[in-house]
């Protein structure tokens, strides 16, 4: 049997990671190298890249062209949006959210980071920790990406020296103390020549850690979801009204936190009525327990009125039920955030409206300083914002639960998503 034996494949895990770096950091080259060396590029794709490389007058096959997406980008030679790439090794399946690293594209980095288990941040070995490193790291911290891998790239241009690697590692570790990064791994690489990307480097015998691919294959991802606080946002009520399932009333949704078991006593928000889980249904069967991010259907012992936007929780472990919310907001639109402006708001499966009350400060993503003298929140700005909603939301701090701690803001005139927010842990209990 080949390495993709059918049994082995059925047992693989999924790792989603994001890559941040500018064109000059060799990010596209790194992804191209990762795909190429792990044999994930097909012949016809490689042929297309070869043709394009020759047309541009490049001497070597430009692996960066592998990840080039839309026509506009090919013309400008830069990546302008989030593109998703897929590859698999015998151990894991990977989804890459490939985002550009320019300052004006903070919104794309934030987008890519929102679903990632891991982030690769590239540092040019010649330049060390820069403003850009700071920006990428801040976003990884803000979006609470559980694992961060610092790739110190272009080691070939610093003669593969250990001191360069160690020096950057030390400086980064100092700098990152101000952030809330949970796990950091350092790998010295040359994306151009493939050192320590998939294969160990013969040029850096002093490095005894794993290659980048080895790190990606072995990161522990089982703990990335919250399995202690029970949260089940009701997404869709299933009522077959058929002869066979005449009185069936099931609550479809995706578990956002905690492990729910058959027989568990649950409380419905906002009504605060309690009942017991009668069954956890999936197609043609039942489960004894459900945990994130499973999509299941609950039936309850009692006939109570529950609809989309309600949340099933445990009585002794409630989320914050509040109309006053403070978030770290990333602004995604050309039209600035309007103080006292009203917006539509989506949080889990709940739709409400909100009014923006106050901008407490903006964050300079290059220096991490708080800005309080300019409170105009423009495209790509990140700010601490207070708002009030028309109806209560059931929220947790984002760092406790990425699903119940995140929300989006929509301009009601254009229907466009204009801002995204992460609930802070401050002020939640003051309620004002």
């Amino acid at each position: 049997m080949s390495e993709f034996s059918t049994k082995g494949y059925l047992d693989m895990e999924l790792l989603r990671f994001t890559t941040a770096g500018s064109v000059d950091d060799g990010k596209s080259t790194l992804i191209g190298r990762l795909l190429y060396d792990s044999k994930s590029i097909f012949e016809d794709q490689l042929e297309a890249v070869k043709r394009a490389s020759i047309r541009r007058g490049n001497e070597h096959i430009d692996l960066a062209l592998v990840t080039d997406g839309l026509r506009a980008e090919r013309e400008q030679g830069i990546t302008i949006d989030v593109a998703y790439r897929y590859f698999a090794t015998p151990k894991r399946k990977f989804i890459i959210a490939d985002t550009p690293g320019h300052i004006q594209y903070t919104r794309n980095m934030v987008t890519g980071a929102s679903t990632a288990n891991a982030a690769i941040i590239l540092i040019d070995a010649r330049n060390g920790v820069t403003e850009q490193t700071s920006r990428h790291s801040y976003i990884a911290s803000l979006l609470q990406i559980p694992h961060v891998i610092i790739c110190i790239n272009k080691m070939d241009l610093v003669e593969y020296k250990k001191e360069v690697f160690e020096d950057i590692k030390r400086k980064y570790s100092d700098f990152s103390k101000n952030l809330k990064l949970r796990e950091i791994t350092f790998v010295p690489i040359s994306a151009l020549y493939g050192d320590n990307v998939v294969e160990p480097s013969a040029n850096m015998p002093w490095y005894t850690g794993g290659t980048l691919l080895h790190v990606l294959e072995n990161i522990e991802i089982g703990h990335d979801h919250n399995i202690s606080d029970h949260r089940f946002p009701v997404q869709y009520v299933i009522r077959p009204m058929s002869d066979e399932f005449h009185d069936y009333r099931g609550y479809g949704g995706r578990v956002a936190g905690g492990v729910f078991r058959e027989g568990d006593r649950v409380t419905v928000l906002p009504s605060m009525i309690s009942s017991k889980i009668k069954s956890i249904d999936i197609y043609n069967g039942k489960l004894s327990e459900a945990y994130p991010p499973m999509s299941v259907t609950f039936t309850l012992e009692d006939d109570i009125d529950i609809s989309r936007g309600d949340m099933l929780v445990k009585e002794d472990n409630l989320p914050q039920i509040t109309q006053d919310i403070e978030v770290m907001m990333c602004w995604m639109n050309e039209k600035p955030l309007q103080i006292n402006g009203k917006y539509a708001l989506k949080h889990t499966t709940r739709d409400v409206r909100c009014i923006i009350q106050e901008v407490k400060y903006k964050v300079n993503v290059n220096t991490l300083e708080h800005i309080t003298d300019d409170k105009t929140v423009k495209l790509n700005d990140i700010a601490c914002v207070k708002m009030r909603t028309t109806k209560p939301l059931f929220v947790d701090p984002y760092e406790v639960n990425r699903r119940t701690g995140s929300l989006i803001i929509i301009d009601e005139a254009t229907n466009n998503t204009v801002g995204v927010g992460m609930v802070t842990s401050n002020d939640l209990f003051n309620g004002k």
Partner: protein, 302 residues
């Protein structure tokens, strides 16, 4: 090594797709599931059954029929619809041609592939569908790699790749103005391999042409095409009988066949694991230019 509360990648992908489909049913008034008879739309239909069980899927299937179908696909489609008891709506490209909405391509490489866009948009408008779910996957093609799960279309059905709505976490914004609609891609994150593995895991029945069979074919620019009354041969092309199967199914005029003896799902999976050509490498429609897919998508293609 695995944590007690972890999932396999196929489970995680399935749960994600079910979540997206339920979100469509909740956020839209008249959703529809695009069904081509290909493996991706078959998997989509299977996921829809699972998402709403024990209820029925709350939307009909829509087949955009070029009239140039493999017979096996049509038999499969009709059986499936009967088995599930769902409504099937057919948008006919032939009808679009007959009523003068589109003009048929001529010449030996003529294909009705591009004409489908008009028929699709007309059908969406006629039935006032506000969300059309498709089996597009981001791994298929470069332009698709940037597609959102919820992809907004203006009143002309057009896609603007530079002005897509931000899509974060799993919060989907399906708000729109009257006359606009959404394309939704619940299996965005699946790869070709994932689809085949899932078909094996779930033991999903497929049209017979996915497995090896004897067929009269001809070779055009390195791609094997099926003999059919509406396919014309160029000079130097000739029919021969080969053992082939489909890796992907579009209509006959743009579906390349693979020389293969794979007779079971396990054999197909082994074959794909060993292949070094992408599945759309056999699609004549994508070879027209480097940005062929992007151009078609902007106009409202699947």
């Amino acid at each position: 090594m695995k944590n007690k509360y972890s999932l396999t990648h196929l489970e995680e992908l399935e749960y994600e797709s079910i979540y997206v489909m339920r979100e469509v049913a909740a956020q839209f008034e008249r959703p529809v599931l695009l069904f081509s008879g290909g493996k991706d739309s078959i998997v989509m239909t299977h996921l829809a059954v699972k998402a709403f069980w024990p209820g029925k899927m709350p939307f009909p299937l829509l087949h955009i029929d070029t009239g140039h179908n493999f017979e096996e696909t049509m038999i499969y489609r009709d059986n499936l619809v009967k088995k599930l008891g769902v409504q099937l709506i057919v948008g006919s490209v032939q009808e679009s041609i007959d009523t003068g909405r589109v003009v048929e391509e001529t010449g030996v490489t003529a294909s009705r592939n591009i004409l489908q866009t008009t028929t699709l948009l007309d059908t969406i408008e006629k039935y006032k569908f506000d969300a059309a779910m498709g089996g597009g996957r981001r791994d298929e093609e470069k332009a698709r790699a940037k597609e959102r799960f919820f992809s907004h279309r203006d009143e002309f059905g057009q896609w603007d790749p530079k002005n897509q709505r931000p899509e974060l976490w799993n919060i989907f914004n399906g708000r729109k103005n009257i006359g606009e609609h959404f394309r939704v891609f619940p299996i965005s994150n699946w790869t070709e391999m994932d689809v085949w593995q899932y078909i094996l895991k779930e033991q999903i029945e497929l049209p017979e042409i996915y497995f090896t069979h004897q067929r009269e074919v001809f070779n055009r620019d390195g791609v094997w095409m099926a003999k059919a009354p509406f396919m014309m041969l160029k000079e130097n092309e000739f029919y021969e009988t080969r053992m082939v199967r489909c890796r992907t199914i579009g209509d006959v005029s743009c579906t390349g066949l693979t020389l293969s003896t794979a007779n079971s799902l396990e054999e197909i999976i082994q074959e794909i694991a060993a292949t070094r050509i992408t599945e759309r490498g056999g699609r004549a429609d994508d070879m027209r230019s480097e940005a062929a897919m992007e151009d078609r998508k902007k106009e409202g293609y699947f």
